[in-house]
């Protein structure tokens, strides 16, 4: 079988001891930073823009544009945040990056700080990630001892430190504003946008906040050049993507592939297919992602191709489910997740999800009517359109996409005849 993997961010995995900065340095580590401080911040921003790197946390916003916005912002203090609050069900890629090659992330952050003019960095890791917290703490200390963090880094004039903060159990804190509120010592409840973090972020200062995988890409762009980076992938999606492959596949695990490979190839060639009789459904991105039937798995991992079908692959989880599952049961499980994780601030999310569950239960119990189906679809749209943050907006996605691709599962549960009221 041909190998569809492409190892860029994972190429040092298993080759180095994550607790040894010398191992990292021996494998081209911090060479990109050495190169970066000899060029101008503006040129680094141009290079990141030219690379076509899109944010890997799920929203796919161009990383170079965030960097540029912070660079152009006028403020004596600017912050950089690495979002390692990986809580989307099905995702574990950031954990692998932190556990296996922590300095790659730190190097990406320092280069970004140099480019954006950030004065302080924050690493925000979810509280449940005990081992990543331990490894990143060690790596930050080692980087500071070697002079890659601190005052006048590599004689560049850059003063930059990274402080590690941990979450305390809250999915919504992966959302950037909730995360920043958590960093400031508050409950993580999202706020309206704009303003965006690049103008008013942490402590109301311009802030570049990016996902772990986004930062991990930066050293490669600087070292290999934007052109070489942009050659990997497709016209609209550059580079590689880390895939958290899980569910009912035979070989669950983390894989790195260039953009453009199909979902089916990832499942069949890397995951060695499902153990059961066949694939019933695949959820892309995690709990907030779309649910697809088996006949759509020829779709390529490509931002544009997905968007054309009104789909996204979020942060790259692929949850494969075999024939033994019940679609409505899975959707209910997903909704339960959002019901629990809703921060409760805005009504569409707090109350809306509750009512989605009530309506869905009517289908599961076989007592739903046609009117319930209409109501369900109106409610889905309302929650999607009016929730403050991404959590609420994405909460009904599994419901919305299964109504589209597995509609019979719902309509077959609608009561055919109404019992007469006695």
């Amino acid at each position: 079988m041909d190998n569809i993997e492409k190892k860029l961010l994972t190429k040092r995995f298993g080759q180095i001891d994550p607790l040894s900065i010398d191992d990292y340095i021996a494998k081209d580590g911090y060479a990109a930073l050495q190169k970066a401080v000899k060029i101008t911040p503006a040129k680094i921003v141009d290079s990141v823009k030219a690379s076509g790197l899109l944010g890997r946390g799920g929203a796919a916003y161009p990383v170079g544009l965030k960097m540029e916005a912070v660079q152009k912002a006028k403020s004596p203090e600017k912050y950089l945040i690495c979002n390692a609050d990986e809580g989307e069900p099905g995702n574990f890629k950031d954990r692998y990056l932190m556990e296996n090659d922590p300095h790659q992330i730190i190097e990406g952050m320092v280069i970004s700080a140099f480019a954006a003019g950030a004065t302080k960095g924050y690493m925000f890791i979810r509280g449940e990630y005990s081992r990543p917290i331990y490894i990143m703490t060690n790596a930050i200390k080692a980087a500071a001892e070697k002079g890659y963090l601190g005052q006048n880094i590599l004689d560049s004039g850059l003063n930059f430190e990274i402080e590690l903060y941990t979450g305390a159990g809250s999915y919504v804190c992966g959302e950037e504003f909730a995360l920043m509120l958590c960093l400031e010592g508050n409950p993580g409840r999202s706020t309206f946008k704009p303003p965006f973090p690049t103008t008013e972020g942490l402590y109301n200062k311009p802030t570049q906040i990016n996902n772990v995988e986004s930062f991990a890409n930066i050293p490669h762009i600087v070292l290999d050049g934007a052109e070489a980076f942009a050659k990997i992938g497709t016209e609209h999606s550059k580079g590689t993507k880390l895939i958290s492959l899980c569910g009912n596949v035979r070989s669950k695990g983390l894989y790195e592939v260039p953009f453009g490979v199909t979902i089916r190839d990832i499942i069949e060639k890397l995951g060695r297919g499902v153990a059961g009789s066949g694939i019933k459904m695949v959820q892309l991105g995690g709990a907030s992602g779309s649910c697809l039937p088996a006949n759509m798995l020829g779709l390529a991992l490509d931002y544009k191709e997905m968007a054309d079908d009104d789909l996204t692959f979020g942060s790259g989880a692929i949850i494969v489910m075999d024939d033994s599952i019940d679609v409505l049961d899975i959707v209910r499980n997903t909704l339960e997740f959002f019901r629990h994780e809703s921060c409760g601030k805005c009504t569409p999310c707090r109350e809306g999800i509750e009512h989605l569950v009530i309506l869905l239960d009517k289908f599961i119990e076989g007592v739903a009517t046609k009117k319930d189906l209409e109501l369900l679809e109106t409610l889905i749209e309302t929650i999607k359109q009016t929730s403050i943050c991404g959590l609420g907006q994405a909460a009904p996605t599994s419901l919305r996409t299964t109504l589209k691709y597995f509609r019979k599962e719902y309509t077959s549960k609608i009561k055919k005849h109404h019992a007469k009221v006695i």
Partner: protein
Amino acid sequence: MQAKEIAQRKGKTPDRLISILMEYQKSKSRNYLTSEDLKAVAGEMGLPESRVFSVASFYSLLNTEPKGKHIIQICRDVPCYVNGSFNIREELENALQIYIGETTKDGLFSLEYTSCLGYCELAPVIRIDQKIYGNLTSEKLVEIIAGYRRT
């Protein structure tokens, strides 16, 4: 350990609040903070009690009710669910003789659900205190629980 000590060591700026509460809780035998504890932290940090209470009640790793010495969390999200987390819950309920959400009479274990722990490649997964256990089977669960009972 007292709130004062922890706050002094970590710093008293509001951004330290969550980490202070986490560490304070860890020093307690029953894994939770009382109203008195929260008031003490508020006092030390010069923050309104309401702020400290709202943080303590918002985050799922912070508890305001007594828990067992060991907290067993079962992931209930789809990647674990399709790999048999439902069975894991039943097995643990039987082994501990409590329902999910409860604490054993001897105060040794609490059993609760958690949102995704980020170890989906090892599904089904549970977390006990700081430690992750994956690829669980009935036999493994029995061993794990027995191990905690011995210590």
